[in-house]
Symmetry: C2
Subunit: 239 residues, 2 copies
């Protein structure tokens, strides 16, 4: 059955994913690398935590096709799942999701694809879980204090780290690939001060930060799912 679309890569996440189509973002660069091969779809939901995102993911035909619908739908070849930055907000932020619940939500999202009993079971879809970047609380505090009215710091370095660790453990348990952005950013910087090179506002990646994400994501594809690397995919029509 025809559909005016190539096979797809779907990037599911919060604002850090949604912003990936701005200049230098990892989303449009991936879209460019896969041009004439796969479509790369922006499924970033700025402001969302996993509670709200899961609600959308579950009910939304714009995200997943049911097993029945899959014969009419483009093939979802790769799904990245990148949450934690908002879930890790500290109380009383309405974005806060307790760590246990966050861990369970990430697991639920993965299993919607991988469990044979799921209505959206899609055994051919490869998954990459991505950890949230470390927070630069110095940068973030300054950004929030400059707003009108000024806002108090809403995230903590150590707390976001716990959410990153949770994503890592789900990847291990569920046997899906991991892109550890938290570790990559931290290794590249080594201190909160130096993180400002890779974060634009203490929370969202800068263009340099997105470079790390893009390179890391392509390397993860090459290592874990080499058949999906853009150099391995034949263009739909001759060059």
């Amino acid at each position: 059955m025809a559909s005016p679309i190539h096979d797809v890569i779907m990037l599911f996440g919060d604002s850090i994913t949604q912003g990936g189509w701005q200049n230098g973002g990892f989303g449009h660069r991936l879209d460019d690398a896969y041009s004439r091969k796969f479509d790369v779809l922006n499924r970033g939901l700025a402001g969302y935590n996993t509670d709200w995102a899961l609600h959308v993911f579950r009910q939304a035909s714009q995200y997943l096709a049911t097993v029945d619908e899959q014969k009419h739908a483009p093939r979802l070849r790769l799904l990245t799942i990148w949450f934690g930055a908002n879930d890790a907000c500290i109380k009383p932020s309405p974005q806060h999701v307790p760590l246990d619940k966050f861990t369970e939500n990430i697991k639920t999202i993965v299993r919607m694809i991988t469990l044979p009993s799921s209505a959206y079971y899609s055994p051919d879809t490869k998954i990459i879980l991505i950890t949230p970047p470390p927070v630069n609380t110095i940068q973030r505090s300054a950004d929030l204090a400059s707003r009108n009215p000024p806002l108090a710091l809403d995230r903590k370095f150590d707390v976001t780290k716990l959410y990153a660790d949770a994503v890592k453990s789900v990847a291990g348990e569920e046997k899906v690939a991991l892109l550890d952005v938290w570790a990559m950013f931290w290794e590249a910087s080594g201190s909160q001060e130096a993180l400002s090179k890779y974060l634009s506002d203490g929370l969202h990646p800068s263009a340099l930060g997105y470079d790390l994400v893009y390179d890391g994501l392509v390397a993860t594809i090459a290592r874990e799912y080499p058949e999906l690397h853009y150099e391995k995919i034949k263009p739909l029509f001759p060059l």
Copy 2:
């Protein structure tokens, strides 16, 4: 029927379209502007003229859904058609398509969507025809001469102008919107020398050139199909 995709905007053309997802390109900027609203799909075929592109467009389920298939397919809300840069190559280039044939091909592509008798008839799809940019033969000659082996100039300023005029007249005859990139680039520069600001190699837009294209495209949508402007489209899920 569900499908893991939003309504779509499809950008159909040659390398000038395909390159629109590189940094600063018009494609990813449009994709960003429409995030959480429409998906913007890259259907640029570098190197193609309208003869080859039409062949692909006709047979390819990745482009158009037939009337029967449309109930399962994402809705194609807007289609841009941007050719001429390769068709206008001078003989003996294999990319050359005679002006009459080019005009007929553009008309055929438009009518595949607009004619009720077409298998791909899609009355809700809006169309914008785009004229090829003017060629800077000074820049283009230098670029081709620097290759190994050096190549002779393959395009002429006045010839590409005729292909741009042809696109313009098809837009008038077929009553679809026009984005006259040829005129925009020429008005912004005023001479072949000054065109180098808007073209990276005498043929393809530079980042500044793509800025003009992006702004012109958004303005054309606002003027001709205001209901499709990104500010008029509600996001699929609350912000």
